[in-house]
Amino acid sequence: METTAVKSNFKSEEYFINMGPQHPATHGVLRLLLTIDGEIIKKVEPDLGYIHRSIEKMCERDSYQQIVHLTDRMDYLSSHINNEAVCLTVENALQLEIPDRVQVIRTILSELTRIASHCLWWGVMGMDVGALTTYFYGFRDREMINDIFEETCGARLTMNYNIPGGLMFDIHPNFVKRTKEFITHFKTKLPEYDTLLTGNIIFQKRTKGVGILSKEDAISFGASGPVGRASGYSCDVRKHHPYSAYDRVTFNEALKTEGDTFARYQVRIQEMWESMAIIEQLIDNIPEGEHKVATNAVIKLPKGEFYQKVETARGELGVYIISTGTKNPYRVKFRSPGFSNLSLLNHIAVGGKIGDLVASMATLDLVIPDIDR
């Protein structure tokens, strides 16, 4: 009699738990407030701002050359591409004719950046779902790209190699040779990624059918990059709004239709192959010429509004500059891919388990300073 009374009184209750800001799977200082019922997620609410540095406000104080340096502190794994975005905005506003050499070198470096970023993502993705070995494979290959960057621009993370008007200095004499060596090396190593993780049955069970995002929702949430493309949404800025040398190379946009965590994983693996194809088309044909065009020491943009979008490793980065004709911008807005991609986390995580949330979050590939600009 007593036990039935206990049973009828037993009911499950929703409760909150904190995930982060120091949780390893949040890759930085992201705090998620989870409402859960047992193991089932009812709501995910991100709490942001732990490393907000007010980059947009600082930009209003700085000159256009200085702004470039702030941008690699946003998505630090795509720092080269972020720099390029600001430089392109300023160059388009000034209507500068950028030499072919610069455009080709920028494209090669952007694709190397993408591979390096995806290598790191692949390493931590495996780690998030319990496969520690991938981390070392990913970092081994990423290291070669970082060495190329170090030789060329002296930095391994925050490049600052692009300046408005071109490149800070010409490429290192070893650049072409080492890049080719890397491509040869990575072509034999990337299939290992598939052997090690993609085909792993435990990994597939953790990722297939988890965190599904439909194409309509992807567009509505402003998803971009691999997150959007895994849902069948063709959103590659390099295809739709080509910049630098992307209009003179052929490559396939990696597209999947499943929209789940495994599809997002596959899109990134395929993107590494495509990036290698782009580099191979350009590396032997770097045009001769100047590595920059002269700009005024003090750059003043004409009065008006300028917008430029580029494809970073995470998706679409937009730079919106309002100028009043002075040496400082009136307003700068960075439309960062991570910010929009984070906003759909609640949508894909609700109804799943906490372990699924970790897997989904790994393929959103969030970089927190990109969100907390």
Binding site: L48, M58, S220, G222, S234, F306, Y307, R335, S343
Partner: protein, 153 residues
């Protein structure tokens, strides 16, 4: 659609829209806060415009007006458009939310509320996104007083 075709189509929907292509690479529409929500809904649902992708939403302090800039793109037609809305009320600026039209607006509008103090009507969860609830003032406004050099030196 070309900018001219867009302009002639959209101007037939709502009177008193201001069109401009000066000092910008896009067609710009300036709309009053009262007509904003209707215009946005039409832009998304009309088959010919079908602006289904809101790729950027920025708050701007134009001094004295405050406002929001919406960058729109159609993933079917691949044309782009900028919509601007301005309000002269600095004490209590209010604009309709577009969360029900594009889900991405939810986070973006919270960011604008956080940094510019613009309130969005019918927003499901309007509270500060980055700053703490106790934070005084709105840092990205031009008249923000930053006495302790918290934001910029």
């Amino acid at each position: 659609m070309t900018n001219e075709a867009l302009q002639s189509l959209i101007s037939s929907w709502i009177p008193d829209l201001e069109f401009s292509e000066e000092e910008s690479q896009f067609l710009n529409i300036t709309v009053t806060p009262e007509h904003l929500h209707q215009l946005m809904k039409d832009l998304k649902t009309n088959k010919e415009t079908s602006f289904d992708y809101l790729f950027c939403l920025s708050g701007v302090d134009w001094q004295p007006e405050l406002g929001v800039v919406y960058h729109l793109e159609s993933t079917t037609h691949r044309h782009m458009l900028v919509v601007k809305v301005k309000t002269a009320d600095r004490e209590n600026p209010t604009i309709d939310s577009v969360c029900d039209i594009w889900k991405t607006a939810e986070f973006h509008e919270r960011e604008v509320f956080d940094f510019f103090g613009i309130t969005f009507n019918n927003h499901p969860n309007l509270k500060r996104l980055f700053l703490t609830e106790e934070w005084e003032g709105f840092p990205l406004r031009k008249d923000y007083e930053d006495e302790i050099n918290m934001v910029i030196k």
